[in-house]
């Protein structure tokens, strides 16, 4: 418990010994947490550590089971998110709270429109312009939200928060959806707000962002604060170790793959508008990691390879060019893609396990009529093989836990017996225990002689799984690392473009 920076000012917003239970299970165990004016306080921890519960309690969306929420030293006078906003405590959620068809101005004044019987458009537009100017943003007040890039939408959220005279701004992984350049813009705004005396809570899985921004860091694990530190007291490695609570290497299988013949070769592959001129090879029995920031074109590349996006370039399987225009073509060429978006693109949440398992390979379960018995048998095998824990076989997949959904999605993908498997974010939103199971499956796929591509934003995952790493930046391959050169420093350098050779594209546009 090291001392935070000088304790001059009393905290603006504070949690004192806060506990929260859902039913009989306590998920927050006596949290003390304080936000000070003019400071960025980073809250970090693994998924499920309790970050979002803390943010919900601070923002008035949840009431603590015991303990106190204090605003300016007095019990917080709000019992809902709307009341909290009125008190100057504003939460920017990961899914933006903006009406896409309304303009920037209309969104900012939504629910508090100026004017009497008729709207005072001029005053609202002027107010919006003033806010945007203050933020140094060039967004037009008349622009519709749906026409704006994600970073601009974030800016609108920040402007909206400012218009509510936010004294406390709680940001839930604001950089997760932003490109490198957009993150820079966001950081400048955060620094500006800090200078204006706003108390900020910042969460991110990218530890380098925490190092750069945070004046204080609080590390959560399993619903308890395990570490508090001031600026510069904790290295990124120290943060990661504190978050996980054990050595990271333990959950990864040992890397001992024997790479065989070339199974897949990609030449001059472009997926407009982002991915340009990507070439790489993939061998049998190999795990190839693809790293890069969100927005660097990793998912677009994968979706282009399996025919989900129009693409140009050459794909060779065992040296023979193949034409892939749809997921069916990809499957016929033995290539399968496991999407990062499990809930919206991977599984039918309101259908049963069986219907989900066999959807992409239904033709194998009977010519004219579907053979229900063979489907059930396939599900039994999948449950055993992938350790899917479902209370009932006929339950809706949406009611399974994230980890079991991911195992089912893996089982569904493997039912087609693909030789090349592209797995996008294999462990997003999954607990540590299931993670190591999924890593073992991936390892087993490679050991069977299949070729696996793992796309991940999770740096330890890339380092722990990959035999070879490709790093993408701005839609191009920024570099390739193999063997002993697969280290966090080298990957991060390539991801961020800091060891840029003069021939490469500039990282700041």
């Amino acid at each position: 418990m090291s001392a935070a920076p000088e304790r001059a000012a009393a905290p603006v917003l504070e949690l004192v010994d806060v506990r929260k239970s859902f039913g009989p299970i306590e998920i927050l165990h006596g949290i003390d947490f304080a936000l000070h004016a003019g400071e960025v306080h980073a809250l970090i921890g693994e998924n499920g550590a309790g970050k979002s519960t803390i943010m919900k309690i601070l923002g008035g969306f949840l009431a603590p089971s015991s303990g106190a929420v204090r605003l300016d030293g007095a019990p917080a006078p709000y019992a809902s998110g709307a009341q909290a906003e009125a008190s100057g405590v504003v939460v920017i959620h990961q899914e933006f709270n903006l009406a896409p068809d309304l303009t920037v101005t209309e969104n900012i004044w939504l629910g508090r429109e100026k004017g009497g019987l008729f709207l005072d458009h001029r005053a609202m537009r002027a107010g919006t312009q003033a806010l945007l100017d203050e933020l140094g943003s060039t967004i037009r007040p008349e622009a519709r939200i749906r026409d704006l890039p994600v970073s601009d939408r974030q800016m609108v959220e920040i402007a909206k928060a400012l218009s509510r005279q936010a004294r406390v701004l709680i940001m839930d992984e604001p950089s997760a959806v932003l490109t490198h350049r957009e993150v820079e813009v966001l950081f400048r705004q955060i620094e500006r707000l800090r200078a204006q005396g706003v108390a900020l809570l910042y969460t991110s899985h990218r530890l380098e962002e925490i190092t750069r921004l945070a004046d204080r860091v609080t590390v959560l694990r399993d619903g308890a604060v395990v570490r508090k530190a001031g600026r510069g007291e904790l290295t990124e490695d120290g943060m990661a170790t504190a978050m996980v609570g054990r050595k990271l290497e333990d959950i990864y299988p040992p890397r001992r793959h024997q790479a065989g013949t070339v199974a897949l070769e990609v030449r001059g592959f472009s997926v407009p508008p982002l991915v340009k001129d990507v070439s790489f090879t993939l061998r049998r029995g190999e795990v190839l990691g693809i790293s890069g920031l969100v927005g660097s074109g990793r998912t677009e590349l994968a979706e282009g390879l399996v025919g989900l996006r129009p693409a140009t370039g050459e794909i060779l399987r065992h040296g023979i060019p193949v034409a892939i225009g749809s997921v069916r073509d990809a499957a016929a060429s033995g290539i399968a893609y496991l999407t990062e978006d499990r809930k919206e693109r991977g599984l039918l949440l309101d259908k049963s396990l069986t219907e989900n398992l066999t959807l992409s390979t239904l033709a194998r379960f009977g010519a004219l009529f579907i053979d229900g018995r063979r489907e059930e048998a396939a599900l039994s095998r999948a449950i055993a093989e992938f350790d899917i824990r479902a209370p009932r076989r006929d339950m809706k997949v949406g009611n399974l836990s994230g980890g079991n959904q991911q195992k089912l999605l893996l089982a569904k993908t493997m039912l087609g017996d693909p030789e090349v498997v592209i797995i996008d974010e294999p462990t997003r939103g999954i607990d540590v225990g299931t993670k190591s199971q999924i890593y073992a499956f991936i390892d087993a796929l490679a050991a069977e002689g299949r070729s696996v591509i793992v796309i991940s934003s999770d740096m330890p995952e890339i380092l722990g799984l990959s035999d070879r790493v490709l790093v993408m930046r701005h839609g191009r391959i920024a570099g390739e690392l193999e063997g002993a050169r697969v280290t966090e420093t080298d990957v991060v350098r390539l991801v961020m473009g800091t060891n840029e050779q003069p021939t490469g594209s500039a990282s700041h546009v």
């Binding site: 990809a330 599900l379 449950i383």
Partner: protein
């Protein structure tokens, strides 16, 4: 692992094998209606009345079975009533035109049937291509074609009625009025369509894909399902079934006009919804649709027979039932 070994045997629970309450609800309503009809009028359960009700249900019924697939896969077709009128008009004009060369007889009727199915197929294909290739909302596409078909048949009839030649009509009549083993042809054809539809929905890839697409078309696309082709097929299938319904309908009156098939689209959609198919797609119940069709025609029949309330209030009662059915559906899905 003990949990797993237990779930290894394919043994669905009792609750899963029985149809859910949302499936039983329409059936209970149908039984109640039959009981009500029987107590109100002794002729209700007579063979004549039952045949009458079923035969009248058959047209909407065949269309509603096709509509079930369209709605299940997340689509909608408002054009079916106008399409039926248009098909009837073209079919009658075609048969009249062929009469001099072919003469009255089976070949002429078969030619007429061919025309009806062909026009139905093309009409469905048109709707389907506009939805899948031009990517226009099904509501908009079929609202447009609804107006087009309706105006075309009015134009063909020059504002009046297109009548089938009297001699041909006499020859064609038995297709509606006669039957097999005392069961009228429309009822037999409807039964075959319903059974085939149920099997297609439950036991073929087509049905499974329709449900998957309606449930989440992105997941279907990522799962190697040919989403556009399945969607197109649902509209083509519906067009063919509208053609089939028209084949059974034309011998009844022997004519077509601008008001033929008026509001059939709404009755068909209502039957699908009452039967428990979700309007937003994802769940299809062909049996439910059959029950929905029967409920709608029974209400009509009971009002006429029972003299309880004015038959003019038929629409009111049907409307209340449709709204109730949707409210009950929503209650189910939110509690599940």
């Amino acid at each position: 692992m003990s949990d797993l070994t237990r779930s290894d045997a394919p043994r669905p629970s009792v609750a899963a094998r029985l149809p859910g309450l949302s499936a039983l609800g329409p059936l209970l309503a149908l039984i109640l209606l039959v009981a009500l009809g029987a107590t109100l009028n002794e002729n209700f359960l007579s063979a004549g009345n039952i045949t009458n009700v079923l035969a009248r249900s058959a047209f909407i019924g065949m269309i509603a079975v096709g509509m079930t697939f369209v709605i299940t896969s997340g689509g909608l077709d408002l054009s079916v009533g106008s399409m039926a009128a248009f098909i009837a008009g073209v079919m009658i004009l075609g048969m009249n035109a062929l009469l001099p060369s072919m003469g009255v007889g089976l070949p002429l009727v078969l030619a007429g049937m061919g025309i009806a199915l062909g026009v139905g197929l093309l009409a469905g294909l048109g709707n389907g291509l506009l939805v899948t290739k031009a990517r226009i909302e099904p509501f908009i596409v079929t609202l447009g074609t609804m107006g087009i078909f309706r105006s075309l048949v009015t134009w063909l009839a020059d504002g009046g009625t297109i009548s089938l030649d009297f001699g041909v009509r006499q020859f064609y009549r038995p297709v509606y009025y006669s039957g097999l083993f005392g069961i009228a042809w429309p009822i037999i054809v409807f039964a075959i369509v319903a059974v085939a539809g149920q099997i297609a929905m439950r036991h073929t890839r087509f049905g499974r894909y329709c449900e998957a697409i309606g449930s989440n078309d992105k997941v279907a696309l990522y799962s190697a399902v040919n989403v556009e082709r399945i969607r197109l097929m649902t509209y083509v299938l519906l067009g063919l079934l509208v053609g089939l319904a028209t084949i059974m309908y034309v011998p009844r009156l022997g004519s077509a006009s601008g008001s033929t098939g008026m509001l059939w689209e709404l009755e068909a959609i209502a039957a699908v919804i009452i039967g428990g198919t979700a309007l937003k797609g994802g769940y299809g119940r062909v049996w439910g649709t059959v029950i929905g069709v029967l409920i709608l025609s029974l209400i009509d029949n009971i009002l006429i027979l029972a003299d309880l309330v004015s038959p003019y209030l038929n629409g009111t009662i049907q409307g209340v039932i449709i709204v109730l059915a949707v409210v009950l559906q929503r209650g189910k899905s939110s509690s599940a």
